[in-house]
């Protein structure tokens, strides 16, 4: 009986500590607007493809800047926490999942662009096709956030 109580108390302690680590990760996850900034950057890069010799590189540069800014700010925010990340984030299945996400985003972009080219000017097709791809990229970065920081956003008081 004494051993059982001691074992129960020890296991409760283990669960409490693991919950603390999960809470710490969750507190320092990237903010929601960083996900939006990432998706907006992804949209801008894809939408810039047919905007002309001089405009395309400038707009694409802006898009990449938004992408890198979103990732950089997320890394900086996560680095403030007491835990760098969960262990074993990248399993083979998750790596395959990430590749599937990327493939899906570009496939959707390509398919919508192909369809839109029949109705829209050449420069406008990527602008339209980038919308669903950017929405997918938001889900993708949200999924990455779940892998890296656990499910759910921090409570308002923890912000």
């Amino acid at each position: 009986m004494e051993h059982e109580q001691e074992a129960r108390a020890a296991l409760d302690g283990v669960r409490r500590m693991q919950t603390s680590v999960e809470g710490e990760l969750n507190r320092n996850r990237p903010r929601w607007w960083m996900d939006i900034l990432y998706a907006a950057g992804f949209y801008t890069v894809l939408a810039s493809l047919e905007l002309g010799t001089w405009i395309s590189p400038a707009v694409a540069g802006l898009g990449f800047a938004m992408l890198f800014l979103a990732v950089g700010l997320g890394i900086l925010r996560a680095a403030r926490g007491g835990v760098r990340g969960p262990r074993r984030v990248w399993t083979p299945a998750r790596a395959v999942g990430a590749a599937a996400w990327l493939a899906a985003m570009f496939a959707v972009f390509w398919a919508v662009r192909t369809l839109a080219e029949g109705f829209l000017p050449e420069w406008a097709a990527p602008v339209v096709a980038a919308v669903p791809a950017a929405v997918l990229s938001w889900f993708f970065v949200h999924w990455l956030g779940r892998l890296g920081f656990g499910p759910g956003r921090p409570a308002a008081r923890a912000e």
């Binding site: 009986m1 051993h3 296991l11």
Partner: protein, 131 residues
């Protein structure tokens, strides 16, 4: 699931908590562990030293710019195996009691004996308690 293996070294409350945190996260900061456990720097350092000495964790410093450094704790593969084995042993102790009733003695599944310190070193591979 890991095979149950009671480990006296990590059964001590503070060390078990350290192992639990290190198992849940990658690069757990010294300051975070200290604050969660409510212990002094020296006490935590002593426990970390004991766990590091047997190869269960690694402790390393990381520069975070502007001359600031932080100390991070990571669990090793050996430490993870020992921790999972110990948790399985605790589960086995509870399972044994639930099956046999609260006043029943006997040996736990997987060759695990009891949960108290009086059983120190009773299993193969058990790490002796350090002071």
């Amino acid at each position: 699931m890991a095979a149950p293996r009671f480990d006296e070294l990590i059964h001590a409350s503070t060390r078990l908590s350290i192992m639990a945190m290190a198992s849940a996260g990658k690069g757990v900061e010294f300051r975070f562990i200290r604050d969660e456990l409510g212990v002094s720097d020296s006490v935590l350092s002593k426990h970390l030293g004991a766990l590091e000495a047997v190869g269960y964790i690694t402790v390393h410093k990381e520069s975070i710019g502007r001359g600031w450094r932080r100390t991070l704790v990571d669990i090793t593969e050996e430490g993870e195996a020992a921790f999972q084995g110990h948790v399985a042993a605790l589960d086995a102790i509870i399972g044994r009691t639930e099956r046999h009733g609260p006043e029943t003695g006997g040996q736990a599944p997987g060759g695990v004996r009891g949960g108290g310190s009086e059983h120190a070193g009773s299993d193969p591979g058990t790490v002796p308690r350090e002071s």
